[in-house]
Amino acid sequence: MSITKPTSPLNEVSQIKANVIAKDLPAFEEHAKQDIKYTTCYMCACRCGIKVTVEDNKVRFIQGNPNHPINKGVLCAKGNSGIMKQYSPAKLSSPLLRKPGTERGAGEFEEISWDQALDMLEKRLKRIRETDPKQLAYFTGRDQMQALTGMWASQFGTINWAAHGGFCSVNMAAGGLYTMGHAFWEFGDPDWENTKYFMMWGVAEDHSSNPIKLGLKRLKERGAKFVSVNPVRTGYQAIADEWVAIRPGTDGILALSMAHVLLKHQLVDEEFLIRYTNSAQLVVMTPGKVGDGLFYRGDSEVPQVWDQVKEAFVDSNLPDITPALFGEYTAPDGTPLKTAMSILVEKYMDEQYSPEVAAKECGVPAEDIERMALEMAHVAFKETITIDVEWTDWAGRKQDKFIGRPVSMHAMRGISAHSNGFQTCRAIHMLQTLLGTIDCPGGHLAKPPFPKHVPPGIKPAKEMAPNTPLKSPPLGFPTCPEDLAINEDGSPRRIDKAYSWDAPISCHGLMHMVISNAVKGDPYKIDTLMLFMANMAWNSSMNTDQTIDMLCEKEDSGEYKIPFIVCSDAFNSEMVAYSDLVLPDTTYLERYDTISMLDRPISEPHAACDSVRIPVIKPDRNVMSWQEVMVEMAGRLGFPAFTKEGGERKYDDYKDFIVNFEKEPGIGFLAGYRGKDGEKSLRGEPNPRQWEAYEENEGFFEMHFDMNQRYMRHANLDYLKLAKEAAWIGNTNQIVIELYSEKLQKFRLAGQGLYDGPMPTEEHHKERLVKYFDPLPIYYMPLEEQRIDRDEYPYHAVNQRPMFMYHSWDSQNAWLRQIMSQNYLFMNRVAAERDGIKDLSWVWVESHNGKIRCQVKLMEGTNEQTVWTWNAIAKRGGAWGLDGDVKENKDGFLMNHLISELLPQKGDKMDRVTNSDPVTGQAAWYDLRVKITPAAPGETGSWPSYSDLKAQPNAEPSPKMLSYSSHKNVNLLRSLSDILTRGNK
């Protein structure tokens, strides 16, 4: 994005005046005593580059790095408050062991040494690894080092590993990766520079926190239209040109209805569809028979299309054929066939998708649905842009320009946190595809290492053996029932039941189910739960109130149902109190870290980028970074990838590991400054001075692509070659966009009993596969809503991320918590008045799972059937270095208590099924429905309430007054004569 770097704001004459003025001023800063260091922010997962001024091992100023690809010099409210995190009284200062004989949650810990802690962990893990590796469940929350933790788990040999994606936004990842090979979330960006019409679905903040803000400014500067689909109007929505106040959970029907309008008027990019998607491929139309709905391949391995010139079936992947986009055909063996596009058109031209019908479901007026579709069509087809650059397509043919249809979209948790989110996300991608806006100028652009083939070629591991690494990573992308991690009898193999019939394509696991499943022993019990950077005893669990109980539940023997809980945290979070062994991490300003190309790096659409953290402050406590702990444990446990032939440790420490580990020849965690002298990018032998090179380059690596590699990368040969060289993709074949998903159809066939492979035996599983694994995007009512009485629970309840707080971890921040230390339940004024609910009154909010008490605020900008609150503001007293009576504890509330991890109980088999998307296992946080009643007079304060947690042993009490500064201020004095003589001005 071409954000103009800041230049001097003063023009020449003013600058001259300024220089004169400067002469008379004292030196405010002692620059000679200050050091400037570059690293990467971790006040959130956006990963902005920061420039930190340090004096006397104290932070003077954290500012955005103007050269950094992500944030281009800007910082958000959190990033600017890093100082208050660094000096938080909640920082853990030593490894802690729960005192023998005390209860979990009591917070009675003794400080132990790192040697003791690591020995203890080593012993336990060694035993597990030698006997039954799946007894270790290792789950990581808001971290960004999944490449390392995932690899560690594979090497350990447990499939019970996942990061937070399952409760976060796997619907977006899967929706994109199973459709177009990249996705929303952190996988792609709108083309902020060129787009003329931007539609944002269900985003309050997202991971691209600063880039979205920079981007919106660019849109506005250029006069582009910004439409926001969101039941709530705050933040980004406030500056949208059009706010579409949708009813939660119904975006699918809105998107499909807009598709209906486009199809009715034949406003689709047929050329794009033929060249880049599978929509011309022929589908077998034999309902009720094995093979129905799969692509017709004839004798070939490749799906067939009908070549209109040759008048014959041909392999769909050939160049220079002229596939028919529409029509019904008959295979030589008599099998009836139809193009995927014909099926698609038939499906969505149905009345059920008409704006009039859709309007009733989603609350968006039919005229608006129609108008927005036609506006987008106008931009896509009448305001087309071209970039005159010669490029080579996948077949090696030269193309003289990139054609851009400048409509773009971005969507996040408003879509993903619903149990229909996967299909809704696919519906949005379908809309983009019909308009031909995928990875074209002005459209939605992938960020390297994406796009990948649909879906990426990694399969989830399912076999385990003692002392043996997994054959593939624990998480991957199933394409058919054979890929599921289930036993012969169909029962789940993973503790979170990922890749089971409950959620077959749960490619990020289901972290939200781990505690509940392990405690119930369903599917089995585990020995050790190891959590990194996840506050599962509070805001990242569904059903928090009961989760807290579960963490303390015991067997008859008196042993805890989860016998041992290890947590790595940097702060005294709620989770710490419920752990047996606490390993204190460094802060982000104190550690080495990589934001790796093997993960989701910081790439921009037009540049491959990754970055590092380099300590800028020396820790003052007995802490060790989790990265270091991982490498240390891997060495101690003798993981093959971490040991030499003789069993000797291969890597001294994390830094050494990062430099020298190679996933395959020349490919490591960091893609920049490789090769012996640091001259190679993306692939190259290890560079012993790689860390120094990153340090010299302000903590990041950025490799711009040539102009001809920047768009249409799913079919751009020069890009595909580069991506293969970088090991982002396995081959240079065209990445075909899958509007019609044969992979989903295979699961559906399994549900129909028509699959030649594993099939579910339980009726509810069959039903779910048939209903939800539609090969074309569908809309269905979210599962919770299907199972409750909608009249009894008339409101949808959702959350939003505040821009100035990151989940649970910013209430310890003395500056940020001043901005908000209590959250309210926001309601539409008209709705509240109808229900007799007054501004600032206390109410009971009840769901099928439980009830809470909280305080209401009324506003205009909320859909009438929706209530919402800011996420994760509530805290437990005593945690986070806070006093017991803080507003976060007494007045703020967690919505999580209302959200069940299981579907609403009805006495059927589904009672045991996770409250998640049936396709991906994504936690359905926003399916929540509630009723609201005024609290009785005198009922104030939030409920439920909890006992205060303990501060860590030897903690100093939190200060009552704080006045931070890194040096004594240099005052600018006003002269006495000026005081005495100056008149009015």
Partner: protein, 229 residues
Amino acid sequence: MKLGLVIDLDTCVGCHGCATACKQWNTSGTIGPLADKDPYGREPVGSWLNRIRSYEVDDTPNSKTVHMPMSCMHCEDADCVTVCPTGASYKRLEDGIVLVDQDKCMGCNLCSWACPYGARELDPEQGTMKKCTLCVDRIYDEKLPEAERQPACVLTCPTKSRVFGDFDDPDSEVSKLVRGRAGKQLMPELGYNPVNTYLPPRNKPVQDQIDPASLKDTVKGWVNKIIAR
């Protein structure tokens, strides 16, 4: 010179980035520290020089959410300065920046009473008046790269909704913005003549709709075109 800020209400998303950047810079800056009372207790209150307020304007269905960051406006007729008995408050002749000399303030609050914009806050620890300095310790610091000689809040704003410049210079970015976007002063009726100027939200862009060519009722209406793959 007449230095000040232009704030664009069309693009401010209310992120509070400018508020914390300001707190961060200035707590170690020339008027620092900016103390915080009860920082981990029930009523944390610190002195801030820049705060963000959010409003809903008009009623449904026309209502709109507006975020309004506010710091000192460096008024041309700044009564906060004239009322100050000690002379701690003053408006610099050179550039119009309104400052409080921390060594001279006696903490009488009168200047804060005289300020219509809530731009002054008493420091809970030092008992002196704190206010926006327009980052006088950045904008003239010749040791900083030229591009960084800007207020901390301006540098950090992720939507670039804050622009710093010389309002006396008709060709400056700020002057152009004020002219081009009909910049407004807040509470002009009080006659303080604030320098900081707000750009009102823009009108919606008009987006054409495509003129639908054909209306297909079934898939039969679609004709295959010869398009090479």
